[in-house]
Assembly symmetry: C2
Homo-oligomer: 251 residues x 2
């Protein structure tokens, strides 16, 4: 059985889209995955092309945008409860028109689309990437080794990473990414990987303690060559409050 | 000469809008104004109704969204260089359909619209509010005394205020809102008015100094009953860098 080409698939899909979705508005998701000291992003390789793209889609006529973003991501990952955050809307002229210039003007995708960017940080051990009909593969790619991307998807990725890094200054991070109990150096390592730089150990300890979201455990990590480091857990109540209201240490 | 009613104006305007703008996407601007220890927001009173709304509009077929937001705001304020920031997209079902339910289905405004929220903080002494054709007045309203608002505009306002308050944790604020030279208590007062709460003087001084965006002047404020407080200026270079990269004191 011969597989349908990208072009045929797209033109078939277009007719359905005009009926189902709100035109001119799309969604692109930047899903960062963390596990075992690696930070990756979920990308799809476009069929018949040497280009990669972010998982994305459109908003149903009776969907709110957060619901649509979660539906799109569930289709790509099987994961139901990913906490996606809107971060920016991308509206450059001809971002979609140019990419589909060889297609008829009536093609859904060739209209002017503005895209709402969402991002999430998940434990990639919890996610099973699923390829969509327009793609050869869907996989985790090292953030330091991003391949050529379609349209303005590289820009969307860059802006999401910037937003994630800024988020470290006003929201807690790390729940579900680290084991239930972790050491301060393990938490610091997570921050360093996201930021792409080394942090001072004393400053990190002082600042993190100031945020008041950790419960120190009466145990330490056994078995290392050095003094056993203390174990910590996130305090769920304080962690949730900080997510909602920002850090206590803030203004 | 009899003035045209809201209904007649709207139906005339609708025909033009279908030609000029991208459907389904609107813009709402939450403009906070600060001056002389007061924080206000710019609102329009809707013609023939006891409801107020945010300055808003639509995106031209060849406009990017930041340009459109600035154009809309210039029409309402005469101000050209207001730094507007996107903060959220509002997509609740029936947010526009219900408000215009007594109008024909073909009315531009009765389509499903998702609205991109922008906010700005300006010196309201620099701005001259201008009424639009659909409104009786355009004026600065105390943020503690917000009147009944159309559609989901109250929600948009609340989310913008939350975003502005969070912004204090990761970006500098105050340039153009305070005189060129100001005292630390004057800067603290600005933060207190935005946050709606008192701050500890010693903590404020320590934290603000840590941000490293101020140049202490060799002058103090003369004439008060107490010890003359030192004057400060924002260091433009450091202020701009912090706007772009976040505070040095961050991670």
């Amino acid at each position: 059985m011969q597989e349908k080409s990208f072009r045929v698939l797209l033109e078939e899909w277009s007719d359905m889209a005009w009926k189902e979705y709100i035109p001119h508005i799309s969604i692109d998701c930047v899903v960062f995955g963390f596990h075992d000291s690696l930070l990756k992003v979920l990308l799809l390789k476009i069929k018949d092309q040497d280009l990669w793209g972010l998982p994305g889609g459109y908003m149903g006529k009776v969907e709110v945008i957060d619901y649509a973003a979660n539906r799109i991501l569930m289709e790509r990952t099987g994961a139901k409860d990913i906490y996606l955050q809107q971060f920016k809307i991308f509206t450059e002229l001809n971002r979609s028109e140019d990419f589909f210039k060889d297609y008829p003007d009536s093609l859904w995708h060739k209209q002017r689309f503005v895209s709402v960017g969402f991002y999430a940080l998940v434990n990639f051990a919890d996610v099973v990437p699923v390829t969509d009909p327009f793609s050869d593969t869907c996989e985790w790619v090292d953030i330091n080794n991003i391949p050529a991307m379609m349209m303005d998807h590289r820009q969307i990725f860059d802006d999401a990473l910037l937003t994630l890094r800024r988020q470290l200054n006003y929201e807690p991070i790390g729940n579900k990414l680290l084991p239930e109990k972790f050491t301060m150096p393990e938490l610091q390592k997570l921050y360093e990987i996201i930021l792409g730089k080394k942090l001072n150990r004393g400053n990190f300890y002082r600042k993190m303690t100031g945020y008041d979201i950790l419960d120190k455990q009466d145990e330490s990590r056994k078995g290392g060559a050095h003094k056993s480091p203390n174990l910590y857990k996130f305090n769920n109540e304080k962690y949730t409050a900080a997510l909602k209201e920002g850090f206590k240490e803030g203004w």
